[in-house]
């Protein structure tokens, strides 16, 4: 009995370490935190940002596994949704950048300076696709 508990705890702990370091590795590779610090000129708060990521991951994981439910008013979902969207949008942008898609495309198509137009096509595509998905696609 005792050995079983220890073993389960050990497996769970090991799994947690792997997933946690994977998450950190992903965020690091995509360089979202440095980018945010550069934009807001807050390099000195890097430690707090680390803590924020760790707390967020632990809290999210815990609430998800334990099925915790609060009874907050519905309205606060809007800012949560916006923040989640901005984060996923930055992830998508970082991924596009890692793959070097935009510079090559701009050069091939001959847009050169007008790369912002290409960017806007992708941005509006993402917004439209996402809205279409939630409002229409889901119900059909």
């Amino acid at each position: 009995m005792g050995i079983k508990v220890l073993l389960i705890a050990f497996i769970g702990f090991g799994g947690g370490i792997t997933v946690g370091s994977g998450l950190v590795a992903l965020i690091t590779v995509l360089g979202i935190v440095p980018r945010l610090m550069q934009l807001s000129k807050t390099y000195r708060f890097i430690r707090s940002y680390e803590i924020s990521i760790i707390l967020g991951a632990v809290l999210g994981g815990w609430m998800n596994l334990r099925n915790v439910a609060f009874s907050f008013p519905e309205v606060i979902l809007a800012p949560i949704g916006l923040l989640a969207g901005v984060f996923v949008g930055m992830l998508a942008a970082a991924l596009t950048e890692v793959l070097n898609v935009l510079p090559i495309l701009a050069k091939r198509v001959g847009f050169g300076k007008k790369i912002i137009i290409i960017l806007m096509a992708i941005v509006f595509g993402k917004i439209t696709g996402s809205l279409f998905h939630w409002i229409y696609y889901i119900n059909h």
């Binding site: 360089g31 979202i32 980018r35 550069q38 934009l39 807001s40 000129k41 609430m63 998800n64 439910a69 609060f70 009874s71 008013p73 519905e74 979902l77 809007a78 800012p79 949560i80 949704g81 916006l82 923040l83 989640a84 969207g85 901005v86 984060f87 996923v88 949008g89 930055m90 992830l91 998508a92 942008a93 970082a94 950048e97 935009l102 510079p103 090559i104 701009a106 050069k107 847009f111 790369i115 912002i116 290409i118 960017l119 096509a121 992708i122 941005v123 509006f124 595509g125 993402k126 917004i127 439209t128 696709g129 996402s130 809205l131 279409f132 998905h133 939630w134 409002i135 696609y137 889901i138």
Partner: protein
């Protein structure tokens, strides 16, 4: 002292068809006034229709030209060893149809990609769960969460590339500009090695 000139090749120079390219255009020169004026005027290359889009001028060729006209001149070179001449073709105007097609392709493509991503990670279930965790009720379609999320997606992308708040936030180059620069450098490096006949020697002499 009069016999020394300092020379630094420029990185990239735009030229026109049939232009006679002078040394002053492909390189920066520091020398005594008279030498400087003379040397800057020497013609190093004449652009002909047979030239390809890019021409590489090696520093050795520049030194050769200078030495031929001023034997014994001491040429000190600094910086890059070659200049890339980019022939400016007549400005190609992008056909509007072509442009609209590319725009629509990217638009549709990214819309499809984000939908695939949402399905792939079961985003609907996650959103339902978040709705439940916050409010304590279950809702089939938590649009209050999902609509701001969708706009946030676009905002996040713009924020990452820093196109909107350029002046207000800071003047550092955006990752996209750095990426464009790196790509251009790689292309230049390729051209320098492959378009420059002098840098490659093959066994049979061609």
């Amino acid at each position: 002292m009069d016999r020394v000139i300092y020379l630094r090749m420029r990185q990239r120079v735009q030229v026109l068809q049939h232009q006679k390219v002078t040394i002053g255009e492909v390189a920066q020169i520091v020398a005594s006034d008279e030498n400087e004026r003379n040397i800057k005027g020497y013609i190093i290359h004449e652009v002909t229709p047979e030239d390809k889009h890019l021409i590489v001028i090696d520093v050795m060729r520049v030194i050769g030209t200078i030495q031929k006209k001023n034997p014994g001149m001491d040429v000190q070179t600094i910086g890059p060893a070659q200049t890339i001449l980019e022939i400016q073709m007549k400005q190609k105007t992008l056909a509007p149809v072509y442009f609209v097609l590319v725009w629509l392709l990217l638009f549709t493509g990214s819309a499809l990609a984000i939908m695939n991503f949402h399905e792939d990670v079961s985003m609907q279930l996650v959103h339902q769960k978040i709705y439940y965790m916050i409010t304590g009720h279950y809702k089939e379609q938590p649009l209050l969460l999902q609509v701001p999320y969708s706009f946030g997606l676009g905002l996040g992308m713009i924020l990452f590339f820093n196109h909107l708040f350029r002046k207000r936030l800071n003047e550092e180059p955006s990752p996209l500009e750095v990426e464009m620069f790196n790509y251009q450098q790689d292309l230049d490096q390729y051209v320098i090695v492959h378009e420059n006949k002098e840098t490659e020697k093959k066994i049979n002499g061609n």
